[in-house]
């Protein structure tokens, strides 16, 4: 068994003169849920297409289950569940007929397909839909793509924008399937503009910017400053002056007597700051930690 289901080393790819992927190193361990984020045109889809063997790198190495994806080995693809920009269904066929085709090429028996659809998709509108897929709504097509991706419970899932056009119910259903895949030991790479699924599932997050991949620290930020919200009653100039002298990393004045301060050791510094403010006749109304969302982290990175 390979230690890394997905591995890329010094991956480089340029389109004409622009480097879209520049020395990208990526290692996904078994059971990793890796979120890939970045602005439009950052190279997320290009990276995914390289991992899937749809594009060939200019230089560098990619291994998926120990194989070069450019060799296009069908046995490797059968271990994978993929969601790409296009649904890939034959529009003139029903959802079920399409699924029968994909089951046959994936080596999933018709019985297993029926069992999978019965147990996981019975409650959805696509389960009993007899119309052709071309008449499906965008959300239904995405659901159908998700159904295909989890067919046979693949060992590796690579999803490019998997929650686009999903309604709330379908969204929750997707989550339940992801959790089941996790329980079955799946490794997953999700690229998404919607950060919620990445925040909810991924233990690792990579940011692609100008073709370079860097990893955000998730849940392990002991050595980083954390943001706190401080609500005080007093003249802003005075507050600014006191905080300027206090052991505070950064100070950002907000509206309505609210200040944002970055602290490295809050347990030690908060009593100190409160004391300094009180001495200057400034009332401290509230001080609480700020929840750092992935969006905030990304904004912080961009700053």
């Amino acid at each position: 068994m390979n230690e890394f289901p997905v591995q890329s080393k010094s991956l480089h790819r340029a389109f004409e003169t622009r480097a879209v992927l520049d020395s990208v190193n990526l290692e996904l361990r078994h059971g990793d849920f890796y979120g890939l984020v970045g602005l439009n045109g950052a190279g997320k889809t290009t990276l995914i297409r390289h991992l899937l063997g749809l594009l060939k790198p200019d230089s560098g190495q990619i291994r998926v289950f120990g194989n070069d994806p450019w060799e296009h080995r069908t046995e490797v693809y059968r271990k994978m569940g993929v969601i790409l920009e296009h649904d890939g269904f034959s529009g003139n066929l029903s959802f079920r007929k399409n699924m029968e085709f994909f089951a046959s090429v994936k080596g999933v028996s018709l019985n297993d397909l029926e069992h999978y659809l019965d147990s996981h998709w019975r409650e959805t509108s696509i389960y009993s839909a007899e119309e052709k897929v071309k008449h499906f709504s965008r959300g239904q097509k995405m659901q159908a793509s998700i159904a295909r991706a989890f067919l046979g419970w693949p060992a590796l899932c690579i999803f490019d924008e998997p929650v686009v056009a999903l309604d709330m119910e379908a969204y929750e259903h997707f989550y339940s399937l992801v959790e089941e895949a996790r329980g079955r030991g799946c490794t997953m790479l999700i690229s998404s503009h919607v950060l919620e699924p990445i925040e909810r599932f991924c233990n690792r997050v990579g940011v692609l910017r100008d073709g370079r991949l860097s990893e955000l620290s998730r849940g392990d930020q002991a050595d980083l400053e954390k943001w706190w919200q401080l609500r005080v009653n007093g003249p802003a100039e005075k507050v600014q002056e006191v905080l300027g002298k206090a052991p505070v990393g950064k100070v950002l004045p907000e509206r309505d007597r609210l200040w944002r301060i970055a602290l490295l050791h809050p347990e030690r510094h908060i009593p100190e700051i409160v004391k300094m403010l009180v001495v200057e006749d400034i009332d401290v109304l509230e001080i609480r930690p700020e929840e750092v969302s992935l969006r905030d982290q990304l904004r912080g990175e961009q700053r």
């Binding site: 749809l54 296009h72 059968r78 790409l84 296009h86 649904d87 034959s90 003139n92 090429v105």
Partner: protein, 213 residues
């Protein structure tokens, strides 16, 4: 082989799932061509031109669509990453195209011969030779469509290039005076060359590049 059959069956099911209006057009074309081949015996120039037209425009529209449509929608990417080999996709589509060519050519050919025989005129052996020529020409069309669907920046041009290829082949036949059978074999050989080229392009990167009409 199973994968080729699966792709072929998928193509056929997709064709059979066409809207009623589209199917009506196909039936209408088959009926018109049955009449055309009944009133134009094979040895006439008109019949030969109708066959060429039929092979290039009607049949290659069906097989060409099968090659191009998935490139336009981008669904080939999903197909390639679903566990079916690229070669199986190619061979399945070519096999489907050839099957359709035989079906769509065989029906009007058979109906026209039936009408001819029913009218008391014996079916000539060279009629069958004509059909073999049509079948081999269709194979050239289909394999070149597979190759050109990747090579041409605008797949809409496939039919024109196919027409050009067949015109060249007909030119060779007329100038060399090749027999029908020999010419048919030459076209099958040309098809194999085109199939080899198509296989190479199907394993390349160009096939998943975005294309628009």
């Amino acid at each position: 082989m199973n994968q080729v059959m699966a792709v072929m069956k998928r193509e056929w099911a997709s064709f059979a799932g066409n809207d009623k209006g589209t199917m009506f057009v196909y039936v209408f074309i088959l009926l018109v061509y049955s009449a055309v081949f009944t009133v134009n015996p094979y040895e006439t120039l008109a019949a030969r031109l109708w066959w060429v037209f039929y092979s290039v425009v009607v049949v290659s529209t069906v097989s060409g669509n099968s090659m191009i449509s998935e490139r336009l929608t981008g669904s080939l990417e999903v197909l390639f990453t679903s566990g079916v080999s690229r070669s199986a996709v190619l061979y399945g589509k070519v096999a489907y195209g050839f099957f359709m060519a035989l079906l769509m050519g065989g029906l009007p050919f058979g109906v026209s011969r039936l009408i001819t025989v029913s009218a008391g005129n014996p079916a000539e052996l060279h009629d069958a030779g004509g059909f073999l020529l049509y079948a081999s020409a269709s194979l050239v069309n289909i394999t070149s469509a597979a190759w050109l669907s990747v090579q041409l920046p605008n797949p809409r041009l496939i039919h024109f290039v196919n027409l050009l290829i067949l015109s060249l082949l007909i030119g060779v036949k007329l100038t060399t005076g090749m027999a029908d059978v020999g010419f048919g074999v030459a076209m099958v050989f040309a098809s194999l060359v085109l199939l080899y080229l198509a296989r190479r392009t199907f394993h390349g990167e160009k096939i998943v590049r975005k294309v628009s009409l």
